[in-house]
């Protein structure tokens, strides 16, 4: 039962990253590449009717985490206190940037909210990459100082950084060179993803330019991914042990690299949705490969005194998990129906939706 909910949770997170990821990416493109009003409009139209529903995947995934793995929810949310609250503030800024921009027709008003939307999107992409880095690296569970736990074995608290910025220090911070590297990968990958969405859903003038941007950023992304793989063993001495024991897991890295290298053909794609498909493969495959490499750990311990958090020692009780399956299956079918309706109505290019105009 724990395994079922683990797969549900990871799938929901992957869907969230793919869906809200294009919103973040579109925000970053909006910030750096959209100079003309028409392009900006096209971008907000392409994400306007979706962003709210996309963000629900985060809330719903949070709900499933809370209900199925309460100990992990409690431990990680309190331990990563500051960055999580800052993510909330950024989500608020991004949302009001999008929603309020069109309410008043004034150049200064519009450019303030454009910047709020763009910068918040950029920082969110960075923070989510950093968050993944923190989970992979692990934390000092129980806050062990000189061999003694100062908190209960499954609790911890991380400041934003420690002065060494080293992922191997005894007292860790949220930001170190490893997590920041993953954060940068997050920014680059989501920028590509967002550009692909814009190419897919609009006829904006910048689309030709964006294809070049995707191509160039994909080179950067490939280099960063290879660097991170080369240094991964510093964080996790045996990153491949799960893949060696279960060879079918290689399907995830294969998906990831199909997505990554497929994107180099971006300039020759006939269908506008192809690029988006490939960047989705990269994001989904990358996330799956990463969590598969640490399975069954969900939050590793960096000390030898307190055990790792695994999906088995953080899960809720059996009865609750079983009874949850019934309502979850019903809800999941409904969600699928909503999504089909939503994407059917807003199918094709969306330049003229008129989002945020009052």
């Amino acid at each position: 039962m724990e395994l079922f909910w683990y797969i549900v949770l990871m799938t929901m997170l992957a869907v969230y990253v793919i869906l809200d990821g294009y919103d973040f990416g579109a925000g970053i493109i909006h910030l750096f590449f959209a100079k003309e009003e028409k392009d900006k409009k096209a971008i907000t139209n392409a994400i306007g009717p979706f962003w709210d529903a996309n963000e629900v995947w985060l809330i719903a995934a949070g709900g499933v985490l809370f209900f199925a793995f309460p100990t992990l929810y409690a431990s990680s949310f309190s331990g990563f206190y500051l960055p999580l609250i800052m993510i909330l503030w950024l989500l608020i800024f991004r949302a009001i940037g999008l929603e309020l921009r069109g309410q008043i027709h004034n150049k200064m008003w519009e450019s303030i909210w454009d910047k709020a939307f763009g910068i918040a999107s950029l920082l969110l992409a960075l923070f989510f990459g950093v968050a993944l880095g923190n989970v992979v690296r692990g934390v000092n569970l129980g806050n062990v100082v000189n061999g003694v736990s100062t908190y209960e074995a499954h609790y911890f608290f991380l400041p934003l950084w420690n002065p060494t910025f080293s992922p191997q220090a005894e007292q860790l911070g949220i930001l170190d060179w490893f997590t920041v590297l993953l954060g940068i990968i997050g920014v680059v990958a989501l920028t590509i993803h967002g550009a692909n969405w814009i190419i897919f859903k609009t006829n904006a003038n910048i689309n030709e330019k964006l294809k070049k941007v995707v191509f160039n950023l994909n080179i950067v992304l490939s280099v960063l991914v290879i660097i991170s793989l080369l240094i991964w063993h510093i964080i996790e001495p045996q990153p491949f042990h799960n893949f060696i024991d279960n060879p079918w897991l290689w399907v995830f890295p294969i998906i990831t690299f199909t997505g990554l290298f497929g994107l180099f053909k971006v300039k020759t794609f006939k269908k506008h949705g192809m690029g988006f498909l490939f960047s989705s493969l990269f994001l989904g495959g990358g996330l799956a490969s990463t969590v598969a490499s640490i399975f069954p750990k969900v939050l590793p311990s960096t000390n030898s005194i307190n055990p790792d958090l695994t999906l088995y020692n953080v899960a809720a009780h059996e009865y609750g998990l079983s009874v949850g399956v019934y309502w979850f299956v019903i809800a999941a079918v409904l969600v699928a129906i909503y999504m089909i309706i939503q994407y059917k109505v807003f199918k094709g290019k969306m330049d003229d939706v008129g989002y945020g105009e009052h």
Binding site: G48, P49, D52, A53, E55, V56, L58, I59, A60, G62, G63, F66, F67, A68, F69, P70, T71, Y73, A74, S75, F77, S78, G79, Y81, L82, L84, I85, L88, W89, L91, I92, A95, I96, E99, L100, Q103, I104, N143, Y151, Y155, F156, F157, A316, H317, Y319, G320, V323, W327, F328, A331, L334, V335, Y338, M339, Q342, V345, V353, G354, Y355, H358
Partner: protein, 444 residues
């Protein structure tokens, strides 16, 4: 430890108070917009459709505020109340996860279609999307109150040796006797808010001689919905909720009514007075004898236990706050019924639109349903203290063990600043939409 708990409580109280200003209008207004749209489908009179469109603009802005201030609520269970989440997550996580899966997806998927899909969908399907948004927002309220009810009156659980609460009866979460009265009371109260908002804007137009026909429509709709919902808030839902408190949380009941001493011949109902916590009595009290006993048990001399009979360790932590919250809610609720009754009488005498003082009163009443809703929730929440899970888990034992007061105060200050900005923006933009007013017969 003490100040950690204080800031955790302050942050939750501040963020939930601010957040709930928006959903109460969302829930009530969605029903009223669906009503306008339905009237349009039946009568084909354009004004109803234009009214629906006007309120959808306010609704969209209000909804966005509700969403962005709502996400921090779910996060805070883990960030600030980790121990509570760890111990009870298997139960309250159930209803909260259901809220995400059943109502947020429904609302958010159809909100986009509702706001931008009228031309694409045609009026009938557009009405349907509005109805689904309404359904989603009311389902959300239901699941939140199911969670709330479990904390007030825990059912369907067992406690393991390690202190964890485990669910053993899923159905009990929904047949909880606390749930239905609390839900209906809350939904009626959210309709009170939306009715007063609609009536107040209508009165504003009439008093300004602008958008005259819309002004009449809004005032009429607002006062009719307003009278019905104000009555429903008091009876049967409020009465039923209060009886639940009297039965299951007698110490809370005594504190909120301001009853310090048990009266053998039946208890009085306190109208005015200040709790004196040093001498454990009510100062400057004005009260009517025996009424409280009658209202609660339908017997003039039924005994109601006073606060002083209970051990101090189970007293609500903030008795004066609880007492004032409850009395403000009840006092305002009474005024609402009175004003709406007068307005409806004038409406049927065909004099309402000329009765200036009622229009002015309706306009100035606008903030008060918000205050009544807020103090109502304070009554429920302060009344549950010092417990998170009534009689089982103390608030002091639920906070995050590793988040220091310095970090919580930092984020609390951040929330205060950010929400101040949000509040100003909301008022400014809502004011702009209201001042511009409804537009006639837009392109169809």
């Amino acid at each position: 430890m003490e100040d950690m708990l204080f800031y955790d409580r302050m942050q939750f109280a501040f963020t939930i108070t601010f957040h709930y200003l928006f959903p109460q209008l969302t829930m009530g207004l969605s029903l009223m917009i669906v009503y306008f749209k339905w009237k349009f489908l039946r009568t084909k009179i354009d004004r109803y459709n234009d009214a629906a469109k006007f309120w959808m603009k306010i609704f969209a802005l209000n909804f966005a505020m509700g969403v962005v201030t709502g996400i921090p609520m779910e996060f805070q269970f883990g960030t600030n109340w980790a121990k509570f989440s760890e111990l009870t997550g298997g139960i309250i996580g159930q209803t909260l996860a259901m809220e995400g899966m059943f109502s947020f997806f429904l609302e958010s998927s159809f909100l986009g279609l509702f706001l931008f899909g009228e031309k694409l969908l045609g009026h009938k399907l557009h009405f349907l999307t509005g109805f689904l948004v309404f359904l989603g927002s009311w389902a959300s309220g239901y699941l939140i109150i199911a969670t709330h009810s479990w904390m007030q009156y825990p059912v369907g659980y067992e406690v393991l040796e390690n202190g964890k609460f485990v669910l053993n009866n899923f159905g009990a979460l929904f047949s909880n006797p606390w749930l239905l009265p609390a839900y209906l009371h809350n939904q009626a109260a959210s309709l009170v808010t939306s009715s007063f908002v609609v009536a107040a804007i209508g009165a504003f137009y009439l008093l300004n001689n602008k958008h005259h026909e819309f002004g009449k429509l809004f005032v009429k709709t607002g006062v009719i919905f307003g009278l019905i919902s104000s009555l429903l808030v008091a009876f049967p839902t409020g009465d039923w909720t209060a009886k639940n408190v009297a039965e299951h949380q007698p110490v809370t009941f005594a504190a909120m009514e301001g009853i310090f001493e048990t009266e053998e011949g039946g208890s009085e109902i306190v109208l005015i007075g200040q709790p004196n916590m040093l001498e454990k009595k009510l100062d400057n009290k004005i009260a009517v004898p025996n009424i409280l006993s009658f209202l609660t048990y339908q017997e003039w001399d039924a005994q109601i236990k006073g606060l002083n009979e209970f051990d101090e360790s189970v007293h609500p932590t903030n008795v004066p706050g609880l007492y004032y919250s409850y009395h403000i809610m009840v006092g305002l609720g009474t005024i609402f019924i009175g004003l709406m009754l007068l307005a409806v009488v004038q409406l049927f005498r065909r004099k309402l639109y000329q009765t200036k003082w009622i229009l002015w009163s309706l306009m100035f009443m606008l903030p008060f349903p918000y205050i009544a809703n807020t103090t109502g929730w304070y009554t429920a929440e302060l009344g549950r203290q010092p417990w998170l899970v009534y009689n089982l888990l103390r608030t002091a034992d639920g906070a995050s063990p590793t988040v220091s007061s310095g970090n919580t105060l930092f984020t609390l200050l951040g929330f205060i600043g950010l929400y101040l900005l949000l509040g100003m923006l909301f008022l400014m933009l809502a004011g702009k939409i209201i001042n511009k007013g409804p537009q006639l017969n837009q392109q169809h």
